[in-house]
Amino acid sequence: MIRKVRTHVNQNEPLVFELSSPGKTGYQLPDLDVPAVDAAGALGAENVRQEIADFPEVSEVEAIRHFTRLSTWNYAIDLGMYPLGSCTMKYNPRVNELVARTEGLAWAHPYQPQQLSQGAMEVMARLEAALLEITGMEAVTLQPAAGAHGELTGILLVRALLESRGGARKRILIPDSAHGTNPATAAIAGYQIENIQSNERGMLDVENLARTVSEDVAALMITNPNTLGVFEPNIGRIAEILHARGAQLYMDGANMNALAGITRPGDNGVDVMHLNLHKTFSTPHGGGGPGGGPVAVKAHLEPFLPVPRLKRAEGQWRFDYARPRTIGRVKAFYGNFGVLLRALAYILAHGGDGLRNATMDAVLNANYIRKALEPYYDLPHDEPVMHECVFSDSRQQKRGVRTGDIAKRLIDYGFHPYTVSFPLIVHGALMIEPTETESKRELDLFIDAMISIAKEVEDDPRTVLNAPHNTRTSRVDEVAAARKPVLRWKARR
């Protein structure tokens, strides 16, 4: 039985180009207070364009209805739970949106004089200090724009360190449970990738690692807790093995929300890590960005951090560019300041105890779901989990139903799907991360939905196989989209 939702009417809407009528406008500009300039005269006739063919021409009310109608076709955190494993879709406090629009901050130009930027620099400095306390690391750059960008920065730091010690080395070790960004990042940074298999408990095999790490290994990229939600208890030993061979331990901090206030990567031998501010620290996902990907390091990597670095001198914040060993810039300016600001607002709201409570609630919620669903779905690894849990579809497969089908059926029950078919080490994975911001009531509705679907798989698998049934758009033909890509609207002439 579907308890959480029922259908309601929603509006059709064409693309904005199909709404347009010649001459319609929705903008206002003040009268020009200086003489107009002839474009051809000022720029050269050859440099001036004709009209922008087929560009939108709509009124203000048409514009707002257009976007509002489109918005109603989306699911969102504001509508309900996103049990997306590894993605940490938690509630986004609205005060963060308000403070990000504070005039002196939102309207601050990155090149305005530093003496008139002290407030913005103070925000960055305070966030740096908080992230160091939370991670146990020794220096942090806020410049990277998102998690994958942070990964790249981190690996470039490792590369620069090793070059300064005689050679960049060739290989980066990546567990088979890792996010796809890890191998892609290592490749962009110019390294060969060596996948290492997890053991039957879903963890890194320490003895195997000890045999694999040689003098041409630059680093191991580890995710902790790993993508099964399992904490690597041997993290200290793993660091020792790497350090003994002159290699570095990189930690993907995507799952920091399972650790904050409980344990600190910096205390456990991690040399370099990135954080996803849009996950742990609650910047809204916005349909896929923007994010923030600060990289925290131990002191031996600090000289290589991107320029500029914040520095306190004579009672003022300054940007220090005189850093001869830096890897350079990874982005113009100083980072996604608007995201940094939201992360600081989140940390200020929680304080140390609040962050720890959030971690504990996230772990509680994940374990609560795991326990409730264990009778209905196969649990391939029964290690204790932290903030997420991973089932497999092996029981449902016997009825011809796969994880992707169950996920689509979940939509009919009013939920966003969990993460499908990831991590790769679990065949037919259902990866579930509730986060701490879901109430018991929402969790129970989710559990009911999952149990109900498990029963449908037994009694009426076709209902699940053809889902979703109640959405305005049914399953889309992704094969056709890729075979003959239509990537833009064109006028029919």
């Binding site: 693309l15 929705g26 903008y27 500009l29 003040p30 300039v37 474009a39 000022a42 364009r49 709509v58 509002t68 918005s71 076709w73 989306n74 504001d78 996103y82 990000a100 629009r101 504070t102 901050l105 601050a108 130009h109 990155p110 305005q112 004089p113 008139l116 002290q118 913005a120 925000v123 306390e133 724009a145 998102a146 994958a148 962009i188 208890p233 993290i235 344990t263 600190r264 205390d267 916005g286 349909g287 960005g289 923007p290 810039r329 982005k331 300016f333 608007g338 709201a349 140390g352 772990v363 509680l364 689509k408 939509i411 799907p417 889309v476 033909d477 056709a480 989209a481 239509v486 990537l487």
Partner: protein
């Protein structure tokens, strides 16, 4: 909930963590604050910045008015708090707006395809450069010194890790345009791409057509970069380029002390499979209704892992939506009028200042001050932020100031700026005597 798990306290959830990895003390952070205290904290920080100062800064970040509709739309929870649209059935809103964004980017740039956006302009440039290297199988890039200096720094960082060579070519000291005659000598059979920015960092409009001809003659691609998107409202689109990489901050994205912004890469159709970043395509659902979905994802990291075209897994969806709403509100007529106002304001101001270069410019230009520091200090005393001294990147241009005027620049402030320039010049002449 604890009882259902057979445990007595939340601490028991962490029993599997060895004692020696645990923190064992509270985090040394202040106690959590109320909403009111947080608002007050940031208000106080904002007041420490140059709030309310008229500013003539540009250099890749521009002050343009943000229509109210932009924040109205992006504040809707369905856009603000939705995830990446992998689940097409419940993400059609985001997918449709990205499809519109891709279309508008093509209309503005004259390219055939555009991606769903990237981090920003500075990272779009190296991504475009790596794309050109994949397409041509060549490993060398030749970049104009008139490309934004920080974009070139980011390119250098990426190129080093990829083993790509970067060479630069200069500019004409008279016009401020890239030295296309000097470019020819820099090209060889190993050159993957020529990278040019128009309008360039000095504000000067470049001859994209000639640059493309020169690049193509040696089998290289032309990557055209833009950092002031409003210029596309009036400038001829760079149709001769193979790849266009740009920054969209001008389209209703707050300066926000350097980010978040949104970049974009657009290209000729034949290069679509080498485009980095997400792409949205049109298709149908099982009922035959129009639908959109992420497509060509076999280029991307979550499928291809180490063989992906880029390690990036996000676009800047919400920021790209700001730009899409902005382009919709201004529309065909408005974007042109906005560009004309920028052109008029900048030319009004330029007429009162000594210009360093003679090339055609859109809304920013390099002025020659007697002393950049004196001028800017005098302006700060009048609570005006002057232009940007660029000597730190161009040692051969001492006291050159990059000045920008947009539709938001008031005539009285421009007059003040010109007066201060003139006074500083007089003073230094007196001093010289």
């Amino acid at each position: 909930m604890l009882a259902s798990l057979g445990i007595r306290s939340l601490e028991d959830l962490f029993a599997q963590l060895p004692e020696d990895v645990r923190l064992g003390r509270p985090l040394a952070l202040e106690k959590g604050k109320s909403e009111y205290e947080i608002v007050e904290y940031f208000r106080a920080r904002g007041a420490e910045n140059a709030a309310g100062y008229p500013s003539f800064l540009g250099a890749g970040v521009y002050y343009h008015y943000r229509p109210v509709l932009v924040d109205t739309v992006i504040s809707r929870g369905e856009f603000l708090t939705s995830y990446t649209p992998y689940q097409a059935e419940i993400s059609q809103g985001t997918l449709a707006t990205i499809f519109e964004f891709q279309t508008m980017m093509c209309q503005l740039t004259g390219m055939d395809v555009a991606n769903a956006s990237m981090y920003d302009g500075s990272t779009a440039v190296p991504e475009a450069a790596m794309m050109a290297a994949r397409i041509t199988g060549r490993r060398r890039l030749v970049v104009a010194r008139t490309v934004h200096p920080e974009y070139r720094q980011v390119l250098a960082t990426y190129a080093r890790s990829q083993g790509l060579t970067v060479d630069e070519f200069g500019y004409d000291a008279e016009t401020g345009a890239a030295d296309l005659d000097g470019l020819t000598a820099k090209l060889d059979g190993a050159t993957a791409a020529v990278i040019l920015q128009s309008p360039n960092f000095f504000g000067v409009v470049e001859d994209v057509k000639s640059a493309a001809g020169t690049a193509h003659a040696s089998g290289a691609l032309l990557i055209d970069v833009f950092s002031e998107a409003v210029a596309l409202g009036i400038l001829r689109p760079p149709v001769e380029a193979d790849i266009v990489a740009g920054e969209l901050q001008s389209f209703a994205i707050s300066p926000s002390y350097g980010g978040p912004y949104a970049g974009v890469i657009a290209a000729k159709e034949k290069y679509v499979r080498q485009l980095p970043g997400r792409l949205v395509g049109e298709t149908v659902d099982t009922r035959g209704n129009r639908a959109f979905c992420l497509t060509l994802s076999t280029r991307e990291q979550h499928i291809r892992r180490e063989k992906a075209t880029s390690n990036i897994c996000t676009n800047q969806a919400l920021i790209a939506l700001m730009a899409t709403v902005f382009m919709t509100v201004y529309g065909k007529q408005g974007l042109r009028e906005l560009a004309e106002q920028n052109l008029a304001k900048a030319h009004y101001l330029a007429a009162k200042l000594p210009l360093r270069f003679s090339g055609p410019f859109f809304n920013e230009f390099v002025a020659a001050a007697e002393s950049a520091e004196t001028v800017n200090q005098a302006l700060l005393e009048k609570k005006i932020v002057g232009g940007l001294p660029i000597e730190c990147w161009y040692p051969e241009l001492p006291n050159a100031v990059l000045v920008c005027a947009t539709e938001m620049s008031r005539r009285e402030d421009m007059d003040t700026l010109a007066e201060v320039f003139a006074q500083a010049s007089e003073l230094s002449k007196v001093g010289a005597r």
